[in-house]
């Protein structure tokens, strides 16, 4: 199995919104390659006829009736907010 390239590390880091220093890119390239090599073992099996399992529990139709419940008071909505502007959350411009 091919090792993960530097560009691939940067690509997944961007997708996952992780800013990495050059040193980190090198370190993770090494470690992620080792991990991918280990997990690539799954490809050894012939599982074409085996269905995927997304969930170990075979249940379905877990839902709730359409009946309102109380919302959070504003002081709790914003209790942990890093930046608040009036009754809005504020972030740098998107």
């Amino acid at each position: 199995m091919a090792r993960i390239t530097r560009d691939e590390v940067l690509h997944v880091a961007r997708l996952a919104r992780l800013e990495l220093s050059d040193d980190e890119v090198s370190k993770f390239q090494e470690q992620l390659s080792d991990i991918l090599e280990a997990v690539s073992k799954v490809a050894e099996l012939d599982l074409a006829d085996v269905p995927p399992t997304a969930h170990p529990l075979a249940i379905e139709n877990a839902w709730a009736d359409d009946v309102p419940r109380p919302c959070l008071p504003l002081d709790e909505v914003f209790a942990n907010a890093p930046d608040r502007d009036g009754d809005y959350f504020r972030t740098p411009p998107a």
Partner: protein
């Protein structure tokens, strides 16, 4: 009166209360004093509550479990300042029974690890030997119970985070059947694997705490009603059919001789208590379980940890625009292990790789589940060591992620299959505890409690660390 926090089980501590030999406050204070005395060394707690309300006995809570008004960091810098505005369902259920939160216990960051060395706030230490790890990710809860800082605790288990620390610290821990305990309010790592469970000194304590927290929760779509919990009283194992998967015992990867011998003796003892014992095989589960787990869990984690974006809670680093702010926040806030797993998971889900990695891992998961299901047509429980090794020294594996992952090789397969597992301490190797893993069929907790209780009695293992007796 003095409360022997090192030795008393939760059941015995509660006895002091019901017999009015000690008040709830006296008991609470006794544990606070134990924390004062020993937590500087063990670092089991990230936060200690001076006086949590309630009429019952204390409980320690792993710091991934949300507690209203009490800091909940999940062992991560990114949540260092986070104080939940709501209780997790398991906390509500504990409070309804009068249990008082004595503190929040240390964990690998977002429960990702096997030693607590991935905690942003420094590792916990093993009460049997403080130069060694207590296991992980629930090493804080394990150290707290083993070190007499709490009568019992709540942990969470994704691939072994309750069972493995219990093994390394010499006490009891249950990872329940997936779907029996609510995850609502618990900081998510891997949603299809995470389960909250009890950490205790005895199997009966474990069974009781499980009965408190288990059952369908309307706030968690993946929970179900559970069979009534029976507190075990049996002394024998007559009629119990025990399966011994060879790949997880004598042939287990990296198994230490002392661990193998202690588990063998426990199995012989089970036979002498009336159980029938037979060898069996889980070839695919052991061979491919770890690889499967390290694709499924990181994939789910990559999405679960995406909400830490500096907008509504948690750490925020400055940035010129939204994107830069998010990237800096996550760079500074996450440690290496979450970063590694987020990247592996992102990679496994990304276009062009999904089928080869995540898709294939889901099929392997089906195969693992089927392999276990087939064995439970012949056996009531499967047994193996919980960890192939005893507690290892701090720093021994921290630079080798794959070696660290292999430490979970025996706990992971049944987690992938959604099955319950119980750790019961079964002896010492080189003066350190060895854990016996009992795996049951889906919803087979009562069977595990019966088997675990009889063995625990017969083994007579002293859960108080030798150096603290």
């Amino acid at each position: 009166m003095t409360v022997d926090t090192l030795r008393l089980t939760a059941e015995e501590t509660n006895g002091l209360l019901t017999r009015k030999e000690a008040s709830s406050d006296e008991i609470y204070r006794a544990y606070l004093e134990a924390i004062d005395a020993r937590d500087e060394e063990l670092h089991a707690f990230l936060h200690v509550c001076d006086d949590d309300p309630g009429e019952g006995i204390p409980i320690a809570v792993k710091d991934v479990i949300g507690t209203r008004g009490i800091p909940t960091t999940a062992g991560s810098k990114i949540l260092e300042s986070y104080v939940p505005v709501y209780d997790a369902t398991v906390i509500e259920r504990c409070r309804a029974r009068g249990l008082r939160v004595i503190g929040k216990t240390n964990t690998d960051e977002f429960a990702m690890g096997s030693s607590t060395e991935n905690s942003s706030f420094g590792p916990s230490r093993n009460p049997w030997d403080p130069s060694r790890v207590p296991g992980g990710s629930g090493g804080g809860s394990a150290a707290a119970v083993s070190g007499g800082l709490a009568p019992w605790a709540l942990g969470s288990d994704t691939g072994g985070s309750i069972k493995q620390p219990a093994a390394l610290c010499g006490h009891v821990g249950l990872r329940p059947t997936y779907g029996t305990v609510s995850r609502f309010g618990v900081v998510a790592f891997a949603s299809s694997l995470d389960q909250v469970g009890p950490v205790a000194k005895s199997v009966r304590d474990c069974a009781f705490l499980y009965s408190v927290i288990a059952g369908r929760d309307e706030n968690d779509s993946t929970t179900v009603d559970v069979p009534a919990v029976e507190l075990p009283r049996n002394h024998d194992l007559k009629g119990l059919r025990i399966g011994v998967p060879t790949e997880m015992n004598d042939d287990a990867p990296g198994i230490e001789p002392g661990v193998r011998d202690a588990v063998r003796k426990a199995i012989e003892l089970a036979e002498s208590l009336g159980a029938s014992v037979d060898e069996c095989s889980l070839p695919l589960s052991v061979e491919y379980g770890v690889a499967c787990y390290y694709l499924v869990a990181p994939a789910e984690a990559s999405a679960n940890l995406a909400r830490y974006d500096g907008v509504r809670f948690g750490l925020r680093e400055d940035g010129a625009d939204f994107r830069e702010m998010v990237m800096k926040t996550r760079d500074v806030g996450f440690g290496d292990e979450p970063k590694r797993r987020i990247m592996i998971g992102t990679y496994a889900l990304s276009s062009g790789y999904y089928d080869a990695y995540y898709g294939t891992a889901q099929r392997v998961r089906t195969a693992i589940k089927r392999e276990h299901d087939a064995l439970f047509e012949r056996f009531d429980v499967l047994v193996s060591p919980t960890s192939p090794t005893v507690a290892f020294p701090l720093g021994a594996k921290i630079d080798d992620p794959v070696a660290m992952y292999m430490n979970d090789v025996l706990t992971i397969p049944s987690c992938m299959a959604g099955l319950p597992g119980l750790n019961v301490p079964c002896g010492l190797s080189e003066g350190l505890p060895v854990g016996l893993q009992l795996i049951g069929p889906q919803f087979g907790e009562n069977t595990l409690f019966r088997a675990g209780h009889a063995l625990e009695r017969a083994l007579g293992f002293d859960v108080v660390p030798e150096r603290l007796r």
